[in-house]
Structure formats: C-alpha cells, structure tokens
C-alpha cells in the first residue's frame, strides 16, 4: 500500500477552513491480496467458530486462500452486484482505517463497527478511529467498481452531521474510548473521514471538487478531515 499525501493548499485557499486539519491522501493498493487476507482475519479471527475445532487446519488454510482469491477476483472483476459492493465497501473501510493507523498513528476502534451492515435507511458511519489529538473520527466509506464516489461519501457525512448521527453513535462507542475523547466530543471537537474508491484519471480534480463542495462547509467546521481516495492497482 502506497500513500501519497497532497498538500491541501493545492486545492484550497489558506483562509478556507482554518480550524480544520485537512489531509488529502491518495492510497494505492499494490498488495490487494495482503489487504484482503487481513480483512478476512478481522471477521474470521473474531468469530466464535474460529475457537472451535470444527475445521481441519489444512482445510482451513486451503480454504482461507481460496476465499482470499475469490475476494481479489471480486475486486478486480469489476462486476457490479450486491456481494461485490459489500466486499468493496469493506475494503475501503478497512484500507482507510489501516492507513490512518499506519501513517497517522490513529487508534482503530474495533470490530463492532466493521460488522455494521448497510441496511436500507443508512444507519450510520462505517468506521471510526481516534487521532493523536484524542479526537474521535467518523468514517464514511463508498465503493464503486467503476466510479469515484467521493460526492456520495462527503454528502453522506454532511447529512449525518445535520442529523447528529455522530452523537447518536457516541453512546455505543463510549465504552471503547477514554475520557479525553469524550471530553473533546462534548466540547464539539471531532473529525471526519471520507474514503472512496478512485477510478478517475486525475486525483487533483477529485480532491479539488470535493474540498470545494457545499458539503465541506459542514465538515470544515470540525477539527480534522481526511479525504482518502483508494485505488487498486
């Protein structure tokens, strides 16, 4: 996975959103198989079934490889269907979280959020991290086989802010985070992450449009914003 950090000033004037740390990140997945393998472990490794001796270890190893290959094929096949979209969305969530942990020292909030499924009615954010400044970051992941759904991601974040979805989610997150994070949240300090698949020609055009969109007016009021375009090689 290669991460390219691009200066926000390439797309925004300095006086725009002065209180918000904005990061524009272009992530290139050149190790898809490894990412998928890690994603698989997050689910398989935390399931109760994994603790039983239901499966022969050799068969387990062979089949986990088969599953990884299958998922890699799903991502690279670019066929649109319900299953493939779900797999893609997980990949975006997982990769964004992983990148923030690896490159920005974020703390990844566990499984409960990864388990969340997109049910009709958009129940909430897709993932969460805690930044070094002890800010809770709410992540929205959008995947497309062919498009670059940046607008979907940032518009969704903006809508959630309006609906105070983040406060709603805080209740279930409270047991997982320390008091400083809660205090910040109570003081109105937090961050957002828009992660999306990148299938366009120009990363600059995408970032520029995203940062100058109406939705940004809502997001830019807060302390952190990560705009993450994820591209599979």
């Amino acid at each position: 996975m290669k991460v390219t950090k691009i200066d926000r000033l390439n797309y925004l004037k300095p006086e725009q959103y002065p209180n918000c740390d904005i990061f524009c990140l272009h992530v290139l997945i050149d190790d898809l198989e490894m990412i998928i393998a890690e994603m698989r472990v997050v689910i398989a490794g935390t399931s109760w079934i994994n603790r039983l001796r239901s499966i022969d270890q050799k068969i387990y190893t062979v089949n986990s490889k088969k599953t990884i290959d299958k998922i890699v094929n799903i991502i690279t096949s670019r066929v649109v269907n319900e299953l493939n979209d779900s797999v893609g969305e997980y990949m975006i969530s997982y990769t964004a979280q992983k990148m923030l942990v690896d490159s920005f020292n974020h703390f990844r909030l566990p499984l409960a959020e990864l388990l969340k499924e997109k049910i009709s009615g958009n129940p909430g954010f897709d993932f969460h991290t805690i930044s070094e400044k002890k800010l809770l970051n709410f992540g929205e992941a959008k995947f497309s086989m062919k498009e670059t759904p940046k607008d979907l991601a940032i518009n969704q974040i903006s809508d959630f802010i309006k609906d105070e979805k983040d406060y709603g989610e805080l209740l279930s997150l409270k047991p997982l985070v320390d008091s400083l994070v809660i205090d910040n949240m109570d003081d109105g300090k937090r961050g957002y992450i828009a992660a999306f698949s990148f299938n366009s020609k120009s990363i600059d055009t995408i970032f520029k449009h995203a940062l100058n969109s109406d939705a940004m007016k809502n997001i830019g009021k807060y302390q952190e914003f990560y705009l993450i375009a994820i591209q599979v090689c």
Binding site: A44, I49, R53, I55, I59, S86, L115
Partner: protein, 779 residues
C-alpha cells in the same frame, strides 16, 4: 432481555439489533438473553429483523438455513460452512462438527448441548460411519421406538436395528445397532463375544444421577469399558455444566475429551398466564418491565390459528380426572377434524390397537381426529410410537403430555405451556427437567433465512420458581454411587443394588444370584405344581374366563401359590396387603397374555368384567323378555357399580400396605374406557413385564430343570414371550408383536437365527406402508 421501550410503535432498534449481531458473531448463540431479545423483536417487528436474518443464521452457524452470501461477512462464514463440510463430509453446524471431530480423535467423549442443537443428526452420522456393531443407550423405553424408526431410515438395509440384544437375521445382516435402556444392558453380556462393538453412545447420560437406574447405568458403563476397552464411548447430556464428570466417575481409560456446548438454535419468548386468563410478557434473564406488558389475545389460540403446534405440560392426574377437558373444549375450535387419509390411517391403527369403538369410546382416539394428542407413560408404547409418528408427520396441533415426554420424545413445538409445575428429584434434576422441557419450545423449520423462536408459557404463581430453576447451573456428581459406602436404599432394591455393585447377576435368569439362590432354597415346588395342574388342561393353558369359573377356594389357592413364589425371591416372608391385591389382579391378565390375546382383547375383556357387562346383559335380556318393567330395569341398572380393582403398582413395594382403586363407587355407564386402557397397560408393563416376569420365569425354569416337567418350561415361555409356539417365539425375537402374529405367521415357512424364510403370502403385505417397514430388513 425484555424492554418496555420495544413496545413503543416508533422505537428505533437498528443499533440494538447490530449489537445483538455482534454478540452472536463473537460469542455464538450462547446467550439466551440475546436470543430472547431477537425473538421478541422479530415477533413485534418482523420487518425490522428481516434484513439481518441471513446474517443472524450465519452467525449462529445454522448453515443449513442460510442462502448464498450477499455480503463480506457472509462470505467469510460461508468459508466456515464449506470448510466444515470438507472436514466432516457432512452439512454440520460448527458445534456438531466440533463434537464429531472430538469423537473421532478420542476414545471417550462426553459433552453437553442444549435441546435442539441437532444431536440426532450427529448421532446418525456416527451410526452411518461405524464399521462394527453399535450400542445406543437411551434412558426410557418411550425413546426406543423413536430411535429405532429414525436410525432405520439412515442406515443400510443390511444393518439390523433392534430394541433389544439378540443376534438374529444373520444371513442378511452385516452389522447390528442395538438401542437399549440400561435395564436391558445385562442382556449384552450374554452375546458380547459374538459381537464386534466399536461404538457405545449414551444419550441423556444424566441418567447416571438417578439412584437405582444411575447405579445400573454406571455399572453398565464400567462393564463395557472393561469388556470393550477399544470401543468408543460417547456421552451426551443436555444443559450439564460438567460433562467431564462422566469420564471421571467411571474411570474411563484411553484418550478422553469433553465439551460443554451452550449454542442454541432457536430463541424463546416467555409469557405468564394470569388468573384472569390474560397473558403478559416476562423475561427470566433481564426484565425491564413491571410485568404489565400484555400479550394481545391467547398465545395458544394464536399459534394454533397460524397452524403451529402447542404442548401443554400437565399432570397425569389432570388427564385421569378429565381436568384437561376444559382446555380441550377451549381450543378444539382451532383444531378441526382431520380429513387427510394418511393421518386417518394412523388414527385407525391406534383405534385397532386399543380396541375402541362407539360403545367403548376412547378420548385418545377421538381427540386424535382433531389433531389433539394425549401422551403419558400409561399409554401403550406401541400407541405412543404411532402418536409420535403422527406428530412427526405434522398432523398434531395440540399435545397434552406428562413428564414421560421430557425424557421420552424429542419433538419440538411452537409453544410449550407448563401448566403442571411439579418436577421430581434433586435441585439439579428439577432444573434439568425444566430446561429439557422448555428446550422443546421453538421449532427450527426448514425455511431458509428464518430465525426461529418459540413461546414458553407458565402460570403466574410459578414465575419466581421458574426463573430460579432456569438460571440454576446443573451439575452431575463426579462420584458414582457404586463407590460410595452406606447407601441410603430401600430394602426392596437392596439385592439389585448389591448385585450391581458386585457384578453378581445370573445372566440367563436375569436376576441377582442371591435371589436365584433363594428360589432354589425355598419350598415352592408344591405351589408350582399346583399352578401347573390348575393352569393346564390337556396340555393347554386355561382362559381368563375359565379362571374366573373355577371355585373361589381354588382361585385363592392359586393366588396364594403365586404370592408364595413371588415372595420367595425376596428377602422377606410375606407380601403386604397392597402387593397381594395387585398380584391377584395381575393373574387373569397374565393368563390372557399367556393365551396370546392382543392388548385390545385384554382391555376389552377387563372392561367388560369391571363394568359388570354380564350383569348388564342379564338385565337387558329380562327387560326384552318382559320379566321386568323399564322403571325396574333402570332402577336395577342404577344400582350397578363398577367392580373395584386395585390400580397397577410396581412390585415389590413393602410400603404399599393398602391398594388404591381407580374405579371407586362408579356407575358402569361412567366407566372410562381410557382409564381401563391406562391401568391395564400399567399392569402389563409395570406389574407383569417388569415386576413378575423375571422371578416367575426363573422359578418355573428352575422347577423344569429339577423335575423335567415340560409344562413348567412352557409356562416360563408363555410368561416370557406370551407364547410357547416356536415360530411365534422366534418372530418375537425378531421384534414382531403379538398383534402381528395373525397376518405374519401364515407367511413364514421357517425361521431361525439366520433368517426368516417367507412364502408367497408375504407379497400381499409389501405395499402396506407400516408392515413393509417391519419387514424390510428380513425379506
């Protein structure tokens, strides 16, 4: 959990359902509280659960109910499902697969798993895969028929499945599966050297805790462990916290493992019934209501209206005294008469077996026509077996059952109503029985993508006790009674217990050696000779009617002779009053059995005798012939009273000083045919088969051994098999019953341990569904 908030129409539950799913994913379906929450939410808002349902089933490991993966997590779970299938070559759940693998890799495996975790499916796979003979030990005779019919379907026709130990049909049999109760375990040791046993399966192995039966169970386990150390031993229990105790207490050798599975496959909703007949929700786990959330309507009616099935757990007394009639009347509207021809065939079979008709009306049969079942231990085993097939086939709607069902039948219902809250034994046993019973609430249907749940209804007054027992952790002792000094036992079972502890049985006579010695040393030859002289006329046994026709003095002498023989095998000189009455009543029934009467004939004869049928006929004749006027006839008829008869009771029982009568001061017109059925079956079963058969057969056999009087051997055979006919004895050893002799005997040219040689007459029965099942392994 039960939360008052859920009943607000606008309640938002998505996040809560997410958290329940997360819990299922991480921990599996082990928390009844989580499953209860899902059940209640599904019952209130099926549309809110629907989008999660496939996920839920994947998280529960119920892969046989899931559809193709539609998201990332399901894809990973499908990998689990595929891997399990490849590992075990079977569509197992993770729990079944884990148990299967542990059984494969251990010499002894003891596990606990809640009701409805698909233990039977696992057992079937083991039975199919076994290469040698298998012994399945179940706790009750009621379970035998259910096991036999289920096993027979899944194994090949060259595998003989029998409910007793006998080596027969050798020519057509590759291996044997014997399904027995521990009481039949002794029979195994007569044949054990001729068998090649590689698996013992002990189902409902918590029987080890039952005093006398537990001793028998432990003794059997130890003896087979000594005789067949290499054969695998598998112990299954429901809801036991320490399944390893089974291995410890019986000191099993070889590699042993154990597992306590708590995964469930269905959820439950709990309701209490208030005195005013309204129903309210409650949770035994986490109740956030004040007991004021009313269930709209009557849940039993609702389930029946949805074509579901209900079990009402009642006392035997409420069946005997017709207290259940009120409930039947209430719900019979939801249970219209059945028209299905296959269902009617089952009903016809029951009617035929019981000999009921318009005059001798049986509620068992009449209710069955509505899909309403009455099930308890005094219903003949064969009828129970037909009833169970009737339920399994989906024709039963409402079942009134007693404790027999807890250990006897593995059938789930959509609703279980515990109307009788009396459970027996220690706190562990009471708690286990309750959990086993409510384990039957909730059927896993075949429908994909459906999370299943059932209802448990209790009466309000039992709520506290119910919760306490449900939350109680049941354990079994790590010490066997066999190893404990100073047993607190009744004198009547002392011989048996000592024989179990010291392994001191006469295998052929099926009695403790000390009792055989007592029979040999006693002065009963005169009594036996008198019985033989009285019972045999021209080499054939007299009929029950002829028995009543002999003088009272002679009858009393016969009774005394039987009493003398029976008491001689005990460590005392006299029977107490109640024991004497029961034994006297059993004699004509024994005679009818000896003559090969069917159960229906025996019940009918007894019903006529008890209801003074001859006296009634005499009065009617006098009326018809004009000897008496109608008012006199009615007056005389009104004076008639049912003959008193002591109800059946297991012998010996020194404390049974005075017998009880079921039919006290009753007009013959009011005599219930069902009561006569129940009591007669108890006599045939508890008194003749379980109490009298072994000591009587032994006494007559020992007499034959000493005197060479062939009448004694014949009587021993009559008591043992109900016949002295060689062909009939062999047919009974092949598992056929007296009821089958009439049609079957003419079809048999020859029979021995190798095979049955049929003639062409058999062809006419091969199209009959039930008869062909009986014949399929012998043809």
């Amino acid at each position: 959990m039960l939360d008052k908030m859920w009943f607000d129409i606008d309640v938002e539950l998505t996040d809560f359902i997410f958290s329940l799913c997360t819990e299922l994913h991480k921990e599996g379906p082990v928390d009844s509280d989580v499953l209860e929450s899902l059940s209640i939410i599904k019952s209130l808002y099926p549309e809110k659960i629907a989008p999660f349902e496939n996920d839920i089933l994947y998280y529960m490991g119920l892969f046989y109910k899931t559809t193709k993966p539609t998201n990332f997590k399901e894809l990973i779970y499908q990998e689990f499902a595929d891997s399990i299938k490849e590992t075990t070559s079977c569509d197992f759940t993770p729990v079944q697969a884990d148990a299967f693998n542990k059984i494969k890799s251990s010499n002894n495996f003891s596990f606990s798993a809640p009701t409805s975790t698909g233990k039977s499916f696992l057992f079937n796979k083991l039975l199919q895969e076994a290469k040698g003979d298998v012994i399945v030990v179940v706790p009750s005779r009621a379970l035998l028929s259910e096991y036999i019919s289920k096993i027979s379907v899944v194994v090949g026709k060259d595998v003989l499945v029998l409910s007793f130990i006998d080596i027969i049909n050798k020519k057509k049999t590759k291996r044997n599966i014997f399904v027995i109760t521990p009481e039949r375990g002794d029979d195994l040791f007569q044949k054990i050297d001729e068998l090649n046993i590689d698996l013992f399966m002990f189902d409902e192995a918590q029987l080890t805790e039952d005093k006398l039966r537990g001793l028998k169970f432990d003794s059997f386990v130890r003896r087979v462990n000594k005789k067949c150390p290499k054969a695998k031993k598998v112990f299954a229990h429901p809801f036991i916290d320490n399944p390893e105790a089974q291995i410890i207490k019986n000191k099993l050798i070889g590699k042993s493992s154990f597992a306590n599975y708590q995964q469930r496959s269905v959820g439950k909703i709990f309701l209490t019934r208030k005195k005013n007949d309204s129903f309210v929700y409650f949770s035994p786990f986490n109740d956030k209501t004040n007991g004021d959330i009313v269930y709209n309507g009557d849940p039993i009616e609702c389930v029946l209206n949805r074509k579901g099935t209900c079990l009402i757990y009642v006392s035997k007394n409420s069946i005997y005294t017709s207290v259940i009639s009120e409930k039947i009347q209430r719900y019979i509207v939801q249970c219209p008469l059945i028209a299905d021809s296959r269902a009617l065939k089952y009903i016809e079979k029951v009617e035929e077996f019981l000999g009921s008709n318009k005059r001798k009306s049986s509620m068992i049969v009449e209710m069955m026509r509505h899909g309403i079942i009455i099930h308890h231990g005094s219903i003949p085993l064969r009828v129970r077996s037909i009833i169970e097939q009737f339920i399994t086939a989906g024709y039963a709607r409402l079942c009134f059952a007693t404790s027999t069902l807890i250990q006897g039948v593995n059938m789930p219902f959509d609703l279980v109503w515990i109307d009788n809250f009396r459970f027996w034994g220690s706190d562990d046993e009471k708690s286990l029985d309750l959990k086993n019973l409510i384990g039957r609430a909730g059927r896993t249907n075949e429908k994909s993508n459906t999370f299943d749940f059932g209802y448990v209804v209790i009466n309000e007054s039992n709520r506290g006790k119910f919760t306490e027992r449900l939350l109680y952790t049941s354990r079994i002792s790590e010490d066997s009674l066999l190893d404990l000094e100073g047993h607190d036992i009744f004198e009547d079972v002392e011989d048996e217990i000592n024989a179990i502890i010291n392994d001191d049985f006469d295998i052929d006579l099926k009695m403790p050696n000390i009792q055989v010695e007592r029979l040999k040393d006693s002065n009963i030859d005169v009594d036996i000779a008198y019985i033989l002289d009285s019972f045999f006329v021209n080499g054939k046994p007299i009929s029950g009617k002829e028995y009543y026709n002999i003088s009272k003095v002679q009858r009393d002498k016969i009774k005394k002779a039987f009493q003398h023989i029976f008491v001689s095998h005990l460590n005392r000189r006299e029977l107490v009053g109640g024991e004497r009455s029961v034994l006297s009543t059993a004699i004509p029934l024994l005679l009818w059995t000896i003559q090969g009467k069917t159960f229906a004939e025996i019940v009918s004869l007894r019903y006529s005798f008890l209801s003074m049928r001859e006296e009634q006929a005499r009065l009617t004749k006098q009326l018809v012939e004009g000897f008496i006027s109608e008012p006199i006839f009615l007056q005389e008829q009104d004076k008639l009273r049912v003959r008193e008869s002591p109800s059946a009771h297991s012998l010996p029982d020194k404390s049974y000083t005075k017998s009880n009568s079921l039919f006290k001061d009753m007009s013959p017109m009011k005599l219930s045919y069902d009561l006569v059925i129940y009591d007669t079956y108890d006599y045939m079963d508890k008194v003749i088969s379980l109490s009298l058969k072994n000591p009587m057969c032994a006494a007559f056999f020992l007499y034959y051994d000493k005197t060479n009087d062939s009448r004694a051997l014949a009587l021993s055979n009559y008591i043992s098999y109900g016949t002295n006919d060689r062909k009939e004895i062999w047919l009974k050893r092949y598992g056929f019953e007296q009821e089958d002799m009439e049609w079957l005997k003419p079809c048999v040219d020859d029979i021995d341990e190798n095979q049955i040689t049929f003639n062409d007459n058999i062809k006419q029965y091969l199209d009959d569904e039930q008869k062909s099942v009986l014949l399929e392994r012998y043809i």
